[in-house]
Symmetry: D4
């Protein structure tokens, strides 16, 4: 490629802090919150990235650390006093804006109690990205009447995030009941032939409902990102 092309690319807004390049550009472009994926980073690294994010002038975005643990939270807390830790899902949130920019409601539906951590990650992410959120928990397909009771909420949502482990059948049933997009999140709950979420993942990829798409196992964050991105259209 011509050199000039690459010269121009240097001025895009990211900051190189050695071990990471903080990409303010992405948050600006996508209206997303600034996000750190905690797993595999040290508490010091996480806190340093958050410090750069919070310091940045052009941004009033909410800050989110996913897959965090109490040690990371302690380090982040020293950088930003109003950080909050959500222990079930391991999410740290720093609220800097309450603005709602999503057009409708994102509904998070989950199948069993063990799926709640992933569902909470999705809920916190969708809220931090400026969406109205609702949730319905513990509505597995083997007790179909429990799901049907909440049909009003299903039909009022603009996007649905559907979290389930084991056989991962919930998105198919939910997808058949609504006409909006359903983002399916397989979870690694279960045991034996659930194979840490593979059974649920395959079930969702083979869904017979045609308004269902799938994200990675336990990826509540990613599902909420896509849902938020759809909800801004």
């Amino acid at each position: 490629m011509p050199e000039a092309v690459f010269e121009r690319l240097k001025h895009l807004p990211f900051e190189d802090i050695g071990f990471a390049k903080v990409d303010h550009h992405r948050a600006i472009r996508q209206g997303y919150a600034e996000v750190v994926f905690g797993k595999g980073k040290t508490p010091a690294q996480v806190a340093e990235i958050v410090r750069v994010m919070v310091r940045h002038k052009a941004s009033h975005h909410n800050v989110l650390v996913t897959r965090a643990d109490p040690k990371m939270f302690a380090a982040v807390k020293r950088v930003s006093g109003n950080a909050k830790f959500h222990a079930l899902s391991g999410v740290i949130t720093i609220e800097r804006s309450k603005e709602i920019s999503g057009k409708g409601t994102i509904l998070v539906v989950s199948a069993g109690t063990s799926d709640i951590p992933v569902a909470e990650e999705a809920l916190l992410t969708a809220r931090a990205m400026g969406n109205r959120v609702e949730h319905v928990f513990d509505v597995g397909v083997a007790g179909i009447h429990r799901l049907l009771e909440h049909r009003m909420m299903l039909t009022e949502a603009r996007v649905i995030v559907c979290v389930a482990g084991m056989e991962g059948a919930l998105p198919s049933v939910v997808g058949g009941l609504v006409s909006v997009p359903v983002i399916a999140v397989p979870t690694s709950t279960g045991y034996g032939a659930s194979f840490d979420g593979i059974a649920a993942l395959l079930g969702m990829l083979n869904s017979c409902a045609s308004n269902v798409t799938v994200v990675n196992i336990d990826n509540g964050f990613g599902a909420a990102c896509v849902a938020s991105c759809i909800n801004r259209l």
Copy 2:
């Protein structure tokens, strides 16, 4: 083991025809029809086994050849004039008894049109083994109202065989609606991440309904055997 033990075992009723040992004992003991698994045998082998079965004095059992093809049928037809071929499922039946020995009704439920061959194998097997049978086809979970319409049949069955491919979610929903045993049969329909039935198999093994058990992929025959065996209790 002591030799005497093995001497005694010689007199159990099976016939050795060289490449196969026809086990009349099993049919007697289990009240089952005499069955030949066609796949991997030559038409001549299938016909010879059927000939021995039909000839046997002590038995009035129905004869069933599964995984058969037209060539096998032609060969069997020469051995037994009243043989019938069911092309969809590849099953040959020779009816020698109309006696109903099962106590209740076995219901075969299937999810999509592509699952019908396996469902038919289950139906023909259950009938040949002396059971009343009913069926409901094309009731996938993404159109839950189509299944619910048939709830009366679900609640009247004594055993249910539930056939589904893709995400294999039907047994979980059916299992949640009834209190009788549900024998789940994954099918190899679908494509891509259905992995020739693995997705459905895993979905069923992870069913959140506790009255569901599973047989091998496409094993309509085996599901009907178990259902029949339960229906005699």
Copy 3:
């Protein structure tokens, strides 16, 4: 679906306690004990669910917590004084009824000493659900005479739960010796190419005995549920 349908569904008996919906309806419908799956829940969540179960007026069902640990037991013990902990299988039982409602005996057969925890889960579950139970342990197929010694018990059972790891061959041999249904439970014992129970699972799904069905790896609970459900027919 018409709104009226969903209105009606609201009055089914389950209680919403926030993170879980306790489904008394299922226990009533299926004659099952009230059951909590412990894994993935906090001790406090388990105890709260048990509290709701025990409090419920319409029910005298036994209560069972599976996949529990000593911390969960301590929490449950505070809610219900007569709770008992079975350490090998990690099962908590609260006996509220000694009524036997199953028609025959459920026999639990297991292959090796390492399979006993899963076998115990099956035994305790079947007993809590109102069945007479018997067991035969340590009868692997490489010492076939040890199994054959117990043939009387095999032939007297109405349903057999067969627990085995490694090559998972026991259900095929047992299935060939009896005419009643055999519920096969693969276990995650073994090492290397046992792949945490996959070898046993595949062995059982491919069983050449036609009265064998399969549940998930280590799912002693599920096998006992199905066995109990069959034993009430």
Copy 4:
């Protein structure tokens, strides 16, 4: 569930034609075209289902048969004279309405020449469902300048369907360049360690771009359904 609930469900609009239940309700509810999945059905079955669809009074929906072959097309042609066959993707279309109901443009991007059949299935589906469609073909990530040349089309689309086999990296790069949802479709092209699309599927599920979701391998139809469903919001 109460009987009345199930009584009400009987009157939903689907037609039972024996081997299939044609669900007009779904098309009405979701604004979708009427669709037949050809694979695993006989030409006669496909034609019969199409006949019922075309005959139905309340519907002016376009009709689509996916995974069809020339024999199916011949049978369908006899039922509906204006049926067209798209040989590359194996799609039969019957256009009954030219109405555009989607709000923006759906862009289909594909990586290699071998991915074109799946991309065409997506294009035809999206068009039949009432969307404006555009496409960019043969823009694999190893020649990044070929993709970047089309950046204008990328930024003008409201939803992007991204089709790629082999390493499945295209959706990550595309997702990083836009702020709209990207529906990723892995294809079964490639050989060896592509494992019939598994490599691409896993690549997409692990995409580091947070606006990417995934459908089943080769499921151009499903991707277009979701895209269309999003494009109506």
Copy 5:
């Protein structure tokens, strides 16, 4: 390595015929027959290799072509008039010696009729390598009395080759009945979760009988080689 080492290695007896190096050395060293693996070679290549083998002065070894087809046989027949084709197993044999050099009897036991082709490959190989051979076919573990009837043959064998598909349980049972080595051969018979022999392979690798070893799926030839090699000790 020093050059002299490699100089010396040049004089070992093999012939380079361009696309293959015929290794007379191996046959001499191991007392094996000369063997060609047919699959993946053209009929002309197979015939040319056989021609070199037959021509060789120092050898009176029997010649064996495995995984052959009728076209290969026609080509070989032109090179050696006394070649014989065994259609079931696809083995071509050219007998040049009737000498028995193995010390005892090699017994080939197989589980089902579909396993016979692999069992025949083992039988023909063992015989060509100068062993006395016996066989017992169709003795699956679900009819344990059929196996026990042949116990005398089991106890008289010096080495046992045990061929089984599906759950692959036969070697465990056989291994428990004898004290000689059992070479287990999984076969690719079966369907669904047999996964072309993986279920049987895993079952055999996890055998609870400690005198069992395993060769590749369908590798009747390899099992006979090992058995022959043991039988010469």
Copy 6:
């Protein structure tokens, strides 16, 4: 089966100690040491089984506990004072006989330092079963001259046990150098695409040397059993 058969089987020599049936018969029949598989048992269970073994009058067999840990050793030590613990392989031995009953030498060859624990398990087992044993360690195929240096030992062995992880290529090279049986043991050493021994296992199953058979991953014990069983022929 006739009842009389099963009556006779009751008198075979095993002792039922509740959770286990100690099978003296097997040791007698196979000339094997008495063996306990430690993994999955409690120290108390292990010690109790050893106590029964040691007490038994008819036996002077050596006793072996595999997959043991220091706690098990402490418990066993209280039952039998001359128990020894081999920490690398986790094997407990109780020597009660020094008799050599195997005809030749069993050579254990291993590829890398990480494979030594499994190789040691094989060595101790073979010795306890009455065989002369030798070993060659750290001779991986990427330094072929280190292996070739030990060729004398290779050619003098009557049976070879070959232990290797990673690509598992050693048995093929060794098998090509000798004419005796080679028992290949894949190990779970390595990382990444070694998949806990699967790579080595598959490599060995596909060995191009025809005198190679395979046992389970890390199964040094099993390999030695087979080798010992061959060495008595």
Copy 7:
């Protein structure tokens, strides 16, 4: 990204012929031949792409079509009279330059006769890209002396491409004998547990020789590309 960047990128030399973008830029930049991957394209598509390649003024590169069949060759022959077809590997070559630009010799080593097609693809590719090439065929590790005989060629090569199926052990042994880079190509030859090349692929990825890297199964072309790219350094 700024628009100007993308404007500049438009002028890179590739031609858009509708279904494909012929990238002359890559050939120029990498000194590679112009290459078409035939599989999954129609004969007409292949011929059209070749026509554009041959027509292009700035290029005297050799043209290569891989994974071609006789029909493709017929179509290409009409476009370029001096096209040659290599049936074993399915490669079409159009020689337009005999220039040798690689600095040393690329040696292609293969293990068995069945690996020759992949080895030939590598040879033809390396030659077309301007390299001196040599080959050694049929030198599997179970006959290590056959490989060692060719040690002179091994040590004289500047880069080695090593092709092997089954256990894929050859690259480890070769890698240990030389100090130059070894590009390992697993092939899909073999059967059963070779799993279409997975066994060889895993073996090579786990190679204990540290100068070995790996390309996709059967990817003789890719290995030669990398070798050629190294040979120009």
Copy 8:
């Protein structure tokens, strides 16, 4: 093989220290540093091997211990005072030579912060083997402008090592931008469907850039070895 051959092989320079054979020959032949793979060895074993390496007269090679932990470092420190520990990657280095023997620069590029440990292992290895090294971290493909900014470094490198987890797409993009060899290292970072690096591994094996080869998951060491080996050509 002739005995003389093996006699000669005895004099190659390696030292047998019981549990390991230290192969000075390899380091001499390949110009490599002396390397110990720490994982699976005890601290004492590691230190002993290092002691032998450091003591050896003929060698001034740098010493490298990979996959080490603090305990190993403590033991090594006692043997060689100038040992250094790199905690992130777990590498111990003992610098004994600063000589640069590689001809160009080896560039290590990595995708995310979690990939840095593997990238550091590659960097330290390449440096210890006498190469000039550079690195670019945190340039994932979803922010393509961050990678393009470093294009100068990409084009100046003689060999590139490219480290990435998740979808493993970076090598394809990098490979398309340069004409030198790219050694791709998949990492086990990520979660869910990354399957501990399988997704990245498959992505890289299927790379559409033809100058990419692959090493084992997390094998930064191996990638640097190959890169170094190429850089000496």
